[in-house]
Amino acid sequence: MRGGTGARVEIRDLVVRRGNRVAVDHVSLTVEPGELLVIIGPSGSGKSSLLSSINRLIEIESGFVRLDDEDARALVPHELRRRIGYCFQGLGLFPHLTVAENVGITPRLAGWDAARIEARIEVMLASVGLEPAAYRDRLPSELSGGQAQRVAVARALAAAPPLLLLDEPFGALDPDTRARLQDLLLEIQRQSRVTTILVSHDLSEAILLGTRIAVLVDGGLVQLGTPAEVVRAPAGPAVQALVDAARRRAVLLGDGTNATDGTKAADTAGPAT
């Protein structure tokens, strides 16, 4: 699968308000093309608000988001969103559309011709590990949780977007399915080089998947670095708490894989480009 090159995402001085609360408080960061940035933080830290302000599901209060030097607000929202894959824990597969129609929806909205959409659906289903002939005509109600998640990922990537936003996409899955989908995501992401921003509350997932990790606490960015940097030198007590929690869980497994796990993920991810 070729998604073209990933976009460069530049976020500057971003403020997002949810009701009376400031959810994102003057955050600045840049995500390089092809990078997989994981945003972590405790519940209510503003990570989902930050993510959904990028495709303007939430409007920003001040600051700006640029995709390849183009201000996100220069586009009408639906045009912007057709260029950004988005996948969230609730999935939101359209229950009245088949798997194929769900996957093909953004290309259809973007006005692709039917043959091209069909071909794309085949490629996408195969790439998320679903045999097209067996799955394309099913309704979402006829899928398992993991299969539905794969369809949601395929839908998000169907129009070959330069940017993919994932909001705790694997949160509702059992650990085994979750691990397989994490592997699948890494594979797809490396092949397509789509710039990916993933929100998670789980540092282990962040270490496993991320080329870099951004830690958000109370709407503010407290640390931005590679997994190794975050694990070795947590910036402040809040980040330390996240690291401790992940380490305790790993120790409970009893074979000390915490260190290797963290190092391996950081190493294989390589330096941030």
Binding site: H78, R81, Y86, G92, L93, H96, T106, L109, A110
Partner: protein, 498 residues
């Protein structure tokens, strides 16, 4: 009989289809707008709920004066009775469940699905068309199903406002104690309701799977075509010979007399009987030309229609009624049938009173009367002349009055002097020794339109003059009420029917 049932079934289905078709157009539109606009939701659905809170029969009945008034202020030939007012009431009733189905359907969509619709790049309009509307269809079809069931049931109540439906069988069957006819009407309406419900249940289930929008389009498309078809079927006969429309009020004698009028018309013109009408509904219809003829009673015309309260003798009332009806309303009195059907106070045989003034203690007991009686001036006159002060008055269906008296449910009833059940149930009539009750000579009234356009038929009605004496009328009534005969059968010994 069979063909009659079939034609009533078709008329009933027509009412249902048109009401559902037009109701769908309004219901879908209101629902769609209301789902996107809280103000419209509150006001339009609020108004529809208010309409729904009105009992079905009351809503239908309210159409009669409303349409009469519309006809009056607009000067257009709008009729207060018949199919159109019935359809308006049925349609009003059908709107709410459909509109509420749309709103509930849209509101109950998983928020994640709506979020995803935006995230994949739909515009608001695309989200509405591709996601919200299709996903609202199962609930909408459920609303349509409710509306259809209600409408089939409610259409049986269209009979008293002059629309033909399966209610004709039920109302006249109840009146004449032909319970087989009642059962037939109910069974036919139930069969219609069950079949339509099965069809829509199937569609609703289909709409929960793939392509709910397409399923709904097929359903509403079919309804639309059926509605257009039903309207066309309704228009077609009007280009053929318009049937002579004969009215009947809601008691046995009236149904029998309608058959006599039918005989008088003869076989050259089709005849339609509109049964179970109230006095004002029937008279307004003759006045506007919706009905061509029915049998009225001079005392009723005097008090209810002309609003007179003075007591006059029989001949004065007869000529004064004829003159005033023609002068004030254009309605012609063409024949005096030759008998009187007056209100009379009736008691059980064990009551020693012979005259109303003998009632004594019974004057304060339980009184029963038909729906109109206790509102009529005769009742005021009776109370004033005899000092009647009943403990309680009970208005009930005329067919139940005599049973209520003979079983002791009430002690005195306002019955009708020609009623066959007075003899059959061993009851007796108290004489009106102070002359409080005016005379009630049966007269044939015809519309101005009939008198002008079809004078030969008006002349045949006029030929009924003095052709029914009181004994014959009482015998006919008894034969239908207690003997199980049909109105059409008992009148065969009348000269006009031979």
């Amino acid at each position: 009989m069979t063909s009659d049932v079939l034609s009533l079934f078709v008329a009933h289905l027509r009412l249902v289809l048109i009401a559902i078709g037009v109701g769908s157009v309004f219901g879908l539109t209101i629902g769609i707008v209301a789902a996107r606009n809280r103000f419209v939701e509150r006001s339009a659905l609020g108004a529809a709920s208010l309409i729904q809170a009105v009992p079905a029969l009351a809503l239908l009945a309210a159409m009669v004066p409303l349409f009469a008034w519309l006809g009056h202020v607009s000067g257009l030939p709008i009729s207060g009775i018949g199919e159109v007012p019935a359809l308006v009431a049925l349609t009003l009733y059908a709107i709410l469940p459909i509109a509420r189905g749309v709103v509930v359907g849209i509101r109950s969509i998983d928020p994640a699905v709506d979020q995803a619709a935006l995230a994949v790049g739909m515009t608001d309009r695309q989200r509405f068309r591709l996601v919200d509307l299709p996903l609202a269809m199962p609930a909408t079809l459920a609303g349509l199903r409710t509306a259809t069931a209600w409408t089939v049931g409610m259409a049986t109540l269209a009979t008293p406002i002059g629309a033909r439906s399966l209610g004709n069988l039920i109302f006249s069957g109840l009146q004449t104690r032909h319970y087989d006819q009642v059962a037939l009407g109910c069974a036919a309406a139930a069969a219609m309701a069950i079949s339509l419900d099965a069809l829509l249940t199937w569609a609703e289930r289909r709409a929960r799977g793939r392509r709910p929008g397409r399923v709904a389009a097929v359903v509403f498309g079919a309804i639309g075509m059926a509605t257009v078809g039903a309207v066309i079927v309704g228009l077609a006969p009007s280009s053929a010979a318009r049937p002579i429309r004969i009215g009947a009020k809601s008691f046995t004698e009236q149904l029998i007399l309608a058959e006599v009028l039918r005989c008088a018309v003869g076989n050259n013109s089709p005849v339609e009987v509109r049964p179970s009408l109230g006095t004002t509904v029937a008279f307004d219809a003759v006045r506007s030309g919706d009905l061509d003829a029915y049998v009225e009673y001079t005392g009723t015309a005097w008090s209810t229609i002309l609003k007179r309260t003075t007591q006059v003798d029989r001949e004065t009332m007869r000529s004064e009624v004829a003159a005033a009806l023609q002068r004030d309303f254009g309605v012609r009195v063409v024949a005096d049938l030759g008998f009187e059907n007056a209100y009379a106070l009736v008691v059980r045989a064990d009551n020693p009173a012979q005259r109303i003034s003998d009632l004594g203690a019974a004057a304060t007991s339980l009184f029963g009367g038909d729906y109109e009686f206790f509102e009529r001036s005769e009742w005021q006159a009776l109370r004033a002349s005899y000092g009647l002060a009943p403990r309680e008055t009970r208005a009930m269906d005329p067919s139940l009055l005599y049973d209520a008296l003979s079983t002791g449910g009430v002690d005195v009833i306002a019955g009708y002097t020609t009623d066959g059940r007075i003899d059959a149930m061993h009851l007796h009539v108290l004489s009106d020794d102070r002359g409080a009750i005016p005379p009630y000579d049966a007269i044939v009234v015809v519309s101005e339109r009939l008198a002008r356009d079809q004078p030969e038929i008006a002349a045949r009605f006029a030929a009924l003059e003095h052709s029914i004496d009181p004994e014959r009328m009482r015998r006919w009534n008894a034969a239908v009420d207690s003997g199980g005969a049909t109105p059409a059968a008992v009148v065969r010994d009348h000269p006009a029917c031979r």
